[in-house]
């Protein structure tokens, strides 16, 4: 592309069209790949594979469709810091609920328990 020969304002970085199509192709490929791998019995590993593929797709979308590749470092930092807080949220909550899960499982389920199921 001849984008860079053109005199754009400094904040304007149009993405090259062929690159966008290549990224789209890769995304479709990964989508098909994740469906295919989900049909193979991988056990626990299957979940990890699915997440790795999803993260690869997310990377492609972020980097090229969302122009992160050309964006300011601060904006990228802002966006990824959100993931830090999400993981904190998930991590601590999971740690806690995981440790008292047994007490919930031990409790009679709704149908059997004396918990009132009528509206109060």
């Amino acid at each position: 592309m001849s984008d860079h020969s053109h005199d754009y304002p400094s904040f304007n970085h149009p993405a090259p069209v062929p690159l966008l199509f290549v990224v789209f192709g890769a995304l479709i490929f990964l989508t098909v790949a994740t469906v295919v791998t989900s049909n193979i019995e991988l056990g626990e590993f299957g979940f990890i594979v699915a997440m790795i593929i999803a993260t690869m797709k997310a990377f492609l979308v972020c980097a090229f469709f969302m122009h992160m590749w050309w964006d300011k470092g601060f904006n990228v930092l802002v966006f990824f810091s959100s993931l830090l807080f999400v993981s904190l949220f998930i991590g601590m909550t999971l740690l806690d609920t995981g440790s008292y899960k047994e007490t919930i499982d031990a409790f009679p389920t709704t149908e059997e328990s004396s918990l009132s199921t009528t509206e109060y």
């Binding site: 008292y100 007490t103 919930i104 031990a106 409790f107 328990s113 004396s114 918990l115 009132s116 009528t118 109060y120």
Partner: protein, 397 residues
Amino acid sequence: MNLHLPLLLQSTNEEIIKRVQESTLSGTKVPQSSIEHQGASSFTQFWDSSYWFPEQASTFAPSVDYLFMWIFWVSTIFFIAIVFSMVYFCVKYRRVGGEINPLPSSSHNNLIEIAWSVGPSVLLVYMFFAGAQGYFDSKIASETSEEIQVTASRWNWVFTYPNGDSSSELHLVNGRPTKLIMQSNDVLHSMYIPAFRQKMDIVPGRYTYAYMVPNKTGQYRLSCTEYCGREHSKMRTLAEVHDTDAHRQENTQWIEEEYYPWKNGERIYKINCSGCHKINGEAATGPALNLLYSMKERPLMDGKVTVDEDYVLESIWYPGKKIVEGYGPVSKMNSFKGKLTQDDVSQVIAYLKYLNNPADVAGGDVESGLRAEGGDKSGTAGTIAPNDKDDDGSDET
């Protein structure tokens, strides 16, 4: 604002005692000791832990009080230092005559900053470890603890003991490690015994546990501290520590020498109904129950109904169907279908009839003798026995 001053003076101890007695009869349980305790502790000095805390009645209490007072002193020293220097600077460096003349002084000093960040943290580390230690002490139950089942529901407590007895106050034996296994029938509750420095939420859908070793006989407050709805503040009862098992049993055992349906009905009433339905003629969330069998017909929101067994059963199983005049338009009551069997309801009905006239039901006259006995006991020991407290206003007073 002056409006409240006379009130402050007005509330003499006697008056409070009188009102406590009244309120005790209307369903709230207050340890007798707390009335006297009030006078004593108000005049204790605030630097003594007994100023801040109710008496210590469990093995955890001393460590909690110790840590509290420790933090109290650390905080007080810091606070006095802060306020003293603030006031001192404000007086010494105050602006006089509108002339602005700050003295030359430094505006940053990393050494000082680090010193006053790191210095106090040492104290914080101690607080954390002492707190954590006390916490784990109160969380780890001894192998030999006695297990008491606690069922909380709006707005009642039921404590069931290993021998199958149950009561609406918690009765413990002095020095015996005890594990409370708690469940809730409806919403969140929290079991709090200030004298034991112990508190634990009761979460519906799972069991939670509280552990304690009482070490002083007496009566203590037990309250719900997790907001649970209308009569949250009435969800108070007693925790009583007895010196021997035998003494406890006197309080937890329901007199079983002769079985009469109405007595079981009374027990069912206390566990399930007493939160909303009074038996002293007062209207609460729901209508009072002692008058029910004195009427032939009861006025409803629309029309009337004949008071009979079918009506009572229907009202308990399907509360929304017939709503008593003045309690509508929608019933606030839970359905007890699935919770109370028809047999249970029959016993409740026997109790309702007993409330109207003891002579109507089998064994109704037995009660008077027992009551006299119970009254004597509570008179001498200064306690309130569970089977003769809030039944009706006409008794004893």
